[in-house]
Symmetry: C2
């Protein structure tokens, strides 16, 4: 499968790229607004995995080119770039492409981080309204700590909540999640359940901020 990681040079994009690179055979397309930066980062990931004896296939492209070639497009960009990014690649998507949002909107005040719920109800709902109607959207990979995910020496047992209206698209993304060692996809229904999922990310940051012994936290439902 071809997976495009738009924003694949950033925090969560880096972790997903390295994990899929190590744990799967998928073709990984690193997307960035700057194609040169995307190519450099793809080389860096390839080299990092080669040093670990893993033979992974990363290529770098400008975001729209990456999306055009991909079966699954991960919107690994900050929430405030989500709609821009969807609009920039919209005419490269088709009904066979699965669009995935891990994006979370947060704001910080003196007490910690807080979920900044957008007017349409969730960050995912913003993406839903920006994408072509016939392209399925799935939410996943919201509540993973970027540092722990990108550190291949770190082992974990984390859950990732998966939501969306298209069951086939959800199954595809759940399978990709399950292929990352230690990650379990957990179905949480439709797009209407997105806000509570997105709100877990600031909660995890607040837990880490208040507990020296807890860091790079994920969540497990048990």
């Amino acid at each position: 499968m071809r997976i495009a990681l738009l924003g694949g040079t950033g925090d969560i994009g880096r972790g997903l790229a390295l994990r899929w690179g190590r744990d799967t055979e998928h073709e990984l397309l690193i997307g960035s607004r700057d194609p040169e930066r995307a190519r450099e980062q793809a080389e860096a990931y390839t080299s990092e995995l080669a040093d670990r004896g893993a033979d992974a296939d990363f290529k770098g492209f400008e975001n729209a080119m990456a999306a055009d070639r991909a079966d699954v497009v991960i919107l690994a960009v900050p929430a405030y770039h989500l709609v821009d990014t969807v609009e920039a690649v919209a005419d490269r998507l088709d009904p066979e492409t699965v669009l995935v949002t891990p994006a979370v909107g947060m704001q910080r005040d003196e007490d910690g981080f807080h979920y900044n719920r957008p007017g349409p109800g969730s960050v995912a709902a913003l993406a839903e309204s920006a994408k072509p109607d016939d392209v399925p959207l799935v939410g996943a990979f919201h509540n993973l700590p970027a540092g722990g995910l990108a550190d291949l020496d770190s082992e974990f047992e984390w859950d990732t909540l998966v939501f969306g209206e298209d069951e086939d698209a959800k199954a595809t993304v759940s399978q990709l999640a399950a292929e990352i060692e230690g990650l379990r996809p957990v179905d949480i229904g439709g797009l209407a359940n997105a806000a509570e999922v997105e709100a877990v990310t600031p909660l995890l940051i607040n837990v880490a901020m208040n507990n020296d012994e807890l860091h790079d936290l994920g969540v497990k439902f048990q």
Copy 2:
């Protein structure tokens, strides 16, 4: 220590009562608006633990009488009764009493349960505005499944997030949480961080609704 469980005949109250009854030596005051119902339930808990060979001390009182006698008062009532309940016991509280809210506001639609965030920012903020200024408020025990908590045959490893502005009061409640076997208190800062904690409860219900193999779910940060 004397712990009053207002709404101690209900779901989460029942689980906390039975767990503290089995795992600690604390004096447990079961509160209800109906003192007769409180006494009957206290007898039922005593009898249930006696059948398991545990010698627990439950007494039943009308809510205000229970609050009057207690060092820690748990508001184990539905969110829509929280302010009523605080107001009904307010003149029985003093600055040495710790008030604890596990309450969560939810609404259900066809997709599942959703966090119903009150105007002041959280359910805990409603309790904060209803209580006497000098009585400390702590949030805890929000994200525990009532069924699994009350089933003493069930073992678990769950976290409970603890928030509040008074560090001593938080320490008292965290200690009480840690005394329940399998439960770990996790500090999440001040009252401003309450909403994300409260929103985890509908998320847990949605996970259980969408996954036959996952039920009576708690959460572990790791």
